[in-house]
Symmetry: C3
Subunit: 346 residues, 3 copies
Amino acid sequence: MIEVTLSDIVAQLGGEMAGDPALRLDRIGPPAEATPSTISFIASPRYRSQVAGTAAGCLIVPPDLRDAAVARGNGSAATIVTPDAYLYFARLTQWWAARGRPARVAGVHASAVVDAQAQVHAGASVGALAVVEAGARVGDGAEIGAHCHVGRNASIGAATRLAARVTVGEGCSIGERCIVHSGAVIGADGFGFAPAQGRWEKIEQLGSVRIGDDVEIGANTCIDRGALDDTVLEDGVKLDNLIQVGHNVRIGRHTAIAGCTGIAGSTTIGANCMIGGAVNILGHITICDRVTVSGTTFVSSSITEPGHYSGSFPFDENAVAQKNTATLRNLYELRNRVRALEKKNG
Amino acid sequence: MIEVTLSDIVAQLGGEMAGDPALRLDRIGPPAEATPSTISFIASPRYRSQVAGTAAGCLIVPPDLRDAAVARGNGSAATIVTPDAYLYFARLTQWWAARGRPARVAGVHASAVVDAQAQVHAGASVGALAVVEAGARVGDGAEIGAHCHVGRNASIGAATRLAARVTVGEGCSIGERCIVHSGAVIGADGFGFAPAQGRWEKIEQLGSVRIGDDVEIGANTCIDRGALDDTVLEDGVKLDNLIQVGHNVRIGRHTAIAGCTGIAGSTTIGANCMIGGAVNILGHITICDRVTVSGTTFVSSSITEPGHYSGSFPFDENAVAQKNTATLRNLYELRNRVRALEKKNG
Amino acid sequence: MIEVTLSDIVAQLGGEMAGDPALRLDRIGPPAEATPSTISFIASPRYRSQVAGTAAGCLIVPPDLRDAAVARGNGSAATIVTPDAYLYFARLTQWWAARGRPARVAGVHASAVVDAQAQVHAGASVGALAVVEAGARVGDGAEIGAHCHVGRNASIGAATRLAARVTVGEGCSIGERCIVHSGAVIGADGFGFAPAQGRWEKIEQLGSVRIGDDVEIGANTCIDRGALDDTVLEDGVKLDNLIQVGHNVRIGRHTAIAGCTGIAGSTTIGANCMIGGAVNILGHITICDRVTVSGTTFVSSSITEPGHYSGSFPFDENAVAQKNTATLRNLYELRNRVRALEKKNG
């Protein structure tokens, strides 16, 4: 269990402190389920009504909520005031997690299989039963989890962490401070075949995957190697679980993509986009910077203007849905009927 | 090959027997493809017409079909009569599979890497090249398959079976008599980031995953750890393959979910629900008990009444589909045209 | 780096050669990004306009483009003329990849765990930390990648390659010259349960998976074993990443299926079909030969005629999409309003 004082937190993360600096906190939690040893945050004056009701021992709030937060309880309630309470909370979780984590031990586990031609930095760690192939490079402070496979000539940047059981294919490179979750497959072959008399002839995928710094990749997500050139994820990209990134896709800086999304080959996505879950994106199109796409949308053509795009089929009680769907099957005909009426009513 | 007699089956699983108790059966199969050594089932009087036509050596039937089943062939055809023939069939498959399975050998494979601080019950088995970290607990009769990874302080209940290559993250717990299939990732980080000047700041995921008893989890399915509190699967939940369960989701008892479904974070699903394949469920909503959702539905808001809900886009020949889709893009305008006509027509 | 001459290529792959046979080429690339040491292809006279503009040292073209291709530069530009330039390109990538690949070394890695009762051909290779169980057979020239798991009595055909970390379940068989990518799970249990008083009783999955020759299976794709009979992929089937193939599905020869597609149990797909990405296919239906399905379509009933089928919900700017969706929720009622108008206008 982690236990810290209010002053420990502020010493580490800054912010203006009110209340008892020696207050002991052992949990980060939502305001509604807080206890006197819980630290919570309320990110916006919109949630002002939650301030008085929470039992949280300490609240992180923006300046607008300072007075309300301090006024709780005896009028000197523990409070941290900071311009961006949500960001402060994020950094608090990082500090908290780091305290709970066992010290990383550099070195190669005795059961790992590291090729003599691989270059593993002395400050890196390689977990149990991992495999690092010839020509691979693992940077300082990198962690290769148990059961990982780092292919021939692949490169893992400094301070990057591969969770247990990650596969990085031949020649693929991952930058610094990345996190890759279990089951991710980086650098499997893209899906490319030429038709040949009713059969398929394989197009060998000769490119690789290049991933920038500060990228996070979710569990069981797949990023295929390029056909001729590389598949590229720029710095700061965040991918959730079970995402498919086809060959020669390019994803711009700081774009975040939620789970179960599929991106077909040779599509380019701009920087600072937010793509919802279960979105599908056609191949060979371009999405510009600063585009938001709602979950389950099928992006079937390029997007050239920043903005928010959607397209989700509504759900309803089954009986209603079936009637609507039946009409939908003949929607074109319904339009023609309206046209005919318009003519008559000319 | 497995070979049993009719009387073996009834001695094991009950039911009323007709026909020759010594009849030898070596296969369970559907009625339409049965042979004289096949045992089949017909679960409902609705399928009465199939009774006479099958070549199955033995039929499992409900009481309503008893006479028809026995009357086959020479008038004393082998038959098992039981109130729920489908359930009987399920139990027969279990008994059949158990006979074909090699005896489980307790103990830790020589190639497994088990930390000295892990507690593996003497009655458990740990497969080749599995890793069990410090503080992990593995219960009596549990089977940890080859290449599995049981993280620090994780807990695997008695008689639970992890197929080959399953990852259970730090601090996650799985109850008793569960089955987890290959490639499943339990306890990867949830997808949480705070925006920070055009970049994303990681919110460390401090919760874990808690899974009840009698749960089954499909291949390559991902269940993320909670952000602050835990992600929870209650007893008897059944998840198919390639499902994404976001952080802080809660799934109620005996709910079954088919493959390729995605559940976004902080959503609560009730008990005894049946969710079809490729369904997507928005985050932060609630679905009550006893809800059925048809495959490919996007559940975009809470469901508060038990029932059957759907929402699937129809398919058609491509030329027809394109015309309908073009109309759909201007559906709002079509409604306005109908309104205008209604006005004119007073 | 690979470097070959024009005459090397033609000696290997055929075709009519024009230009300097000694021209050195070190890259295969698209015409638009070509350099003088790049070999490119232009597959169709439709792209005739690209011929003059490319800087590619050598062009692969069909006979119709021969003159235009040779006329580039000094009038004797390096050119390979062949009836099917795309197929030629595919074969060129194969030859290219083979040159770059290290020689495969037959034999079992010292760290692999191969049961004494497994039959691994002397010409096969088994990678680091792989597990091959009792009764399994691995054919001549087959490659079992690092961390693979070949279950009891499973069979891997000659010259088949399992990339790192592939799971092949008990009794499943894979034909010759197949490629299976990392994370694929072949032979996990199908999703089968009988309801039993508000709980689910497992139906043990007694079938297996049978895969023909020349099949390719993508990363993290799952193919479940059959309930009673087998799940079958016929020769030449190509599956992309993150596909779910339910129990007792049958996929016909040379059918190709793009990523994120889900196929529910007991469905039969014919030969020479092309199924787009993120398609979902209902269970217990039949799709005939030579059917093309557009990406994201939900195939909710059988298809009995060859052809192209689609059904994708359109996307738009969020504000427009929301208005259209609102109308869609009441589409049935809109149809009734049109009917009423038609009556009035008799």
